[in-house]
Amino acid sequence: MKRVFNHPKAPATGRKYWRSLEEFADTPEFRARLEREFPQGAAELQGDEVTRRGFMQFMGASIALAGLGLTGCRRPEIHAVPYSKGVEWQVPGNALHYATSMPRRGGALPLIGTTYNGRPTKLEGNPNVPGFNGATDFLGQAAILDLYDPDRSKTVLKVKLDQTDPDKPKELRGADYADASWEDFWEELAILRRDYLKNGGDGLAILAEPGTSPTREAIRAALVKLYPKHVWVEFDPWKSQSPGGQAVYNLEKADVILSLDADFLGATDGTVQTIAGFAAGRRRLGKSEETMSRLYAVEARFSLTGGMADHRLRLPSSQIQAFATLLASKLGAGAGNSFGAFSDPNIDAWATGVANDLTAAKGRSLIICGSQQPPAVHMLVAQLNETLGNYGVTVTYRPDFNLTSTLPKPATLSDLAEQISQGTVKTLFVLGGNPAFNAPVDLGFDDLIAQVEQVIRHGLHVDETSACSTTHVPAAHFLEAWGDSRAYDGTYLSQQPLILPLYDGISELELLAELIRLPGQPKTKGAELIIDTFAQITGLDKGAGESFNNAWRQFVHDGFLAADADKTYAGLHLGNINPPPAEPPPKPIEAGKYELNFVLGSVDDGRYANNGWLQELPEPVSKLTWDNALYISPATADALGVNIKPPNNEIADVPDTDFSPRTSNNYFAVDPMTAYPMVKVTTPDGHSLELPIIVAPGQADQSLTLALGWGRTAPRLTEADRAVVTPPLRVAEGAGFNAYLLRTSATSGFVVNVKVEKIDKTYPLAVTQEHNSMEGRGIVREAPLDYYHQHADFVQEIGIDKETPQGALTGYQNYEPAYIPPALNSKDHNPDRPAWGMVIDLNTCVGCSACVIACQAENNIPIVGKFQVLRGREMHWIRNDRYFASDNPPNSRDPAYLEDPQMLIQPMACQQCENAPCEPVCPVNATVHNEEGLNVMAYNRCIGTRYCANNCPYKVRRFNFFNYNDRPIQNVKLPVLGVTNELYLGPFAGKDGPLTYKGSPDSIALQKNPNVSVRMRGVMEKCTYCVQRIEEAKIDQLRKSNNNGEGSGNITIATDSFQVACQQACPAQAIVFGNLNDAASKVAVLKQDERNYGVLAYLGTRPRTTYLGRVRNPNPAMPGAANIGHTSEFETDDGKYQGDADKTASNAAPQELNKLNQEKLTG
């Protein structure tokens, strides 16, 4: 008889954890979706014309034909091709590692690149550089895919002569390309050089991105000398508004942290170090001598930083200045409060509480200011940090890199714009960046560039800026070029190429070096560019011979300079810097109008928009992929008339096969093809944009948030050009909306008083927030710090766990289970074998998503495209589940409870259950257990029944519905919904027929990890605990043990000697993997931690991956402190903690259930 497992009932009162508005409302559609193996339609073969029956007919016919030809009977001849001449260090099959660094805004990221036979496949953090934990962020992980981007520009392009007429409209300018050669370009450059050397550079302008490379500064010095009249311009759309110097934080030393609109855990710059430091502060859970840090966040959008905060205040970005001023007055600093008090008394109480806490932690506190806040706020925050005695302890200031030099200050983009309109610029170099796309809209920069007679554009892609240039020069990726840079904290880093330029590009340094080369001098190339700078920085003599060469080689090998005097910047205070010209504070938001603030998403400022991994990476909070959208608060939604409540709390029946776009504004629509309502946003400057909206819990009222960087448009090309120019930006085009169209020079961070009106349009958004939802109690667990001190094992008090013996459900070693799976219990089982396990610390995981991309890069996980994500077919092996927590509303659909929830993030991958429910249902034994406790997948056995995914309570299995790894990138507008970014149309898609749609670009195949099978259509896959790394470590030890019969004979892998991909990438070191049988390993120690619990462990799955419960550190003096981190089980109706005595007094049902389930497991 089939026994239905009865999940314990969730309590009706107390705290509630939910992932989406639909779950919050618990609609029937949501329940229907929960019970599905895949979201509705995910399992359907649904194209425009092909039905399942048609598909079977075609397949049957093709198999019959294939059988007639018997082409499959002969195996192809395979060739093995060795080198003709041996390559130094190269052992076929073994990886080589090189240190390099990734240039980034605000400081480079040190990396170690892995190459196989000369092709880079993976990037990791450089573990030797202090402060980075050997970790990376998601951009660092995704950079490897950019290297192989097939859409990168490959040749020099020149506009045909008759197109250089400056009076031509800009869109025509780049629209008629001729293929040029490098010789043509060098010739063009030589003529330029000759002319400008004569006139001292009059009319020459160079627009570059703010860089961190000392070598570039050196070249610039030469430029200033040779061309004294040239204009050097630097522009980055997200450059910090800080008037001088970049703050460098030491979060490890900070006990009380206040973030003012600063997403220092989730933003794209410098986060590796800030997360590492922050995590160290959160690990201090002890009672007395050490103090857990406390984080306060004041912000408009619910960011990851807000999610980690112990106290969070929703406040529009434009009111941050007023709040900072209020805080300053409470702290007895600052020059009076010109803003007046906030009307909300809660805010005043909040500021008082924070001020008291900051004062109490003088010298151990820290205030962080958001980078796009006006300069005045940065100055005020610097002053407050000084007042609190934090300067030199938790915060120092590093100069902007060009501030140290004696060179003239770079001009700004508006200076350049003015000069162009005056006609003084004759030749403009645009090095990197994409100003035609991301310059402030009021400058009209694309039109301006088109007015310049000669524009030489150096870029990775033929993009918006190339379209208004006269010459496009392909750039080399940073992994293809020599360079140097400085890290966020100023450490000098080397940048070593891992591969020769794939697409014939040159680096920015090489191009600039060519400008300063005098006639007759030899070309400087490669490392020669850097070696002089290195000599200068180290003070070594280049002519010293071997000793210098050794120092240089050591530097390139290590990737950084350990002894670098420039790292300390004594005396540089923000307070010492001349205050910027006073600007009027932001206007208050008028009633009925809103503030629009800008953030950076996964594609940064748009430069990574053609990276499919980043496009498909769910935004950590909203879980939106492939697009950006306008985030509005539930109250705003109400005001705009977007219905977030089902009418009359009743839901009409949704037909099961309904795939048509929903036109209703019913926000609770649980359709995979959910069409989101759209609004029209108009700024006071008159710029407007139509945008889809996402109702975001925790968003500040009157505040709207929009991510920059999406809405890339490829240059308009004629048919003839298409033959010459690489298909531009196949991934980026059509994804999202261009927020730069609303952003002006004066409003880089936020615009106040924008008008919003609902329009009668909808737009499909691929949101993964409730794909793979789990059902059950106690999935995420948390407690406040003081409760944790009294009840260190609080995780055992949550859910059904409290009814079972201590550790019974998760403890690997302490508990004698009633049942051991056969693979772990066979008579042949060798007890010396390792037992792999993982612990994820929810207390330090901030949800930055580096693990998601790291896993994708390591395990050859394909992207699937927006349309497939809409159907729930995304392939990520590890996902970050984001839970909101709020009081359990008496009426479960009351949106008031949506407004200010708390957030928890839980990384979720295959739990490697010892009693894996997926295994017994597989008809072909494709997923089985091995003796080391891994739930392994044999892809070649899998026949794609998907029973395993159906039976997985954690919903962590992924199915290859198409040959995602063997499909080209196609940017086709689908007849349904007009979705672009549909990369995988299935075998019969398109009128060109199936055959033209085969094969992925060769360059993408080069990125694949050779140690992991590339899965094909019809195969199930999931997290393997990076089994290739496990096996490699074991074989490595075997190699060492008995090499030539002289080895140690020891075949035991050294404790924690290797890491899995997600663990290695994690800046917080929240993911710990290792051998549970090795008592000295970190993971074995953490498994004994009292905060250790298994998700849904009451099912008897005995997961090998377990979690450490989250501890929050609320300040009792703050408003609302009693509600923070208290799970319902701790509380009785009067809000008090439940004492030990009546711990067992809860209902008897769980006990009974447990007995039932135990029975089921044993019997």
Partner: protein
């Protein structure tokens, strides 16, 4: 009573039998082919671009396997020699032999020699040479007596069942690694090595398996990743 079955149905039985016999024949052919060493290509002996004679080089001249397959102890792949390795001898020895013309061409042009791969496991099976030769599994166990082959052919089926037959009973194949006599080759690379007199392979194997804690994986993840 009218006929239930129309006249056309008379032939159904014959047609069905005909169809069944064809299907049956196909099944027989398939089993004949796919279930035998023919499918696993034992004996596969393609024509190589250079007529390299292993019997001459290894059997007669006594060259060690590792002279050419130099990384077999350090890497999962056993590399093919570069043209450079060939030329290190054949610059002097047999410098004008027409059979070596492709090698000289390769050396002159830098174009590598495209050898035909004989021993091939599917892409989803990750065989690691270094894990085997460092643990006492000789080349001969998988590749046969290459020292006696004029032209190399596939000697063993390299099928999964064949792999498992050793992984389950490693004592039948494991050899000592250290050379048994001074100056002699390690038994792993000595293709003519015999178990010392007075001892059976099983006895020796059991001792080595115990001493070296040999525990070959028999689960999927051992080879499939």
């Amino acid at each position: 009573m009218a006929n239930i079955f129309p006249k056309a149905t008379n032939l159904i039985l014959i047609k069905a039998m005909f169809a069944l016999s064809i299907i049956g024949g196909l099944v027989t052919v398939a089993v004949w082919y796919y279930f035998t060493p023919k499918y696993s290509r034992v004996g596969y002996q393609p024509v190589q671009p250079v007529a390299f004679d292993h019997k001459l080089h290894v059997g007669q001249l006594g060259m060690d396997c590792r002279f050419c397959h130099s990384y077999v102890e350090m890497s999962g792949h056993s590399n093919y020699p570069t043209t450079q390795v060939c030329m290190s001898c054949h610059k002097q020895v047999q410098a004008d032999n027409p059979k070596l013309q492709p090698v000289r061409d390769s050396w002159a042009t830098g174009q590598p020699i495209s050898w035909v791969k004989i021993h091939n496991v599917p892409d989803y099976a990750y065989f690691n040479h270094s894990a085997h030769v460092n643990r006492g599994i000789s080349c001969v166990s998988c590749h046969g007596q290459v020292n006696e082959m004029n032209v190399v052919f596939e000697d063993k089926p390299l099928s999964m069942a064949w792999c498992l037959s050793c992984h389950r009973n490693p004592q039948n194949y494991v050899r000592p690694i250290a050379a048994t006599a001074p100056g002699s080759t390690s038994p792993v690379f000595n293709l003519n090595w015999k178990v010392p007199a007075g001892m059976s392979q099983a006895q020796l194997g059991r001792k080595l398996v115990h001493d070296w804690k040999i525990d070959p994986p028999t689960d999927c993840a051992g080879c499939h990743r």
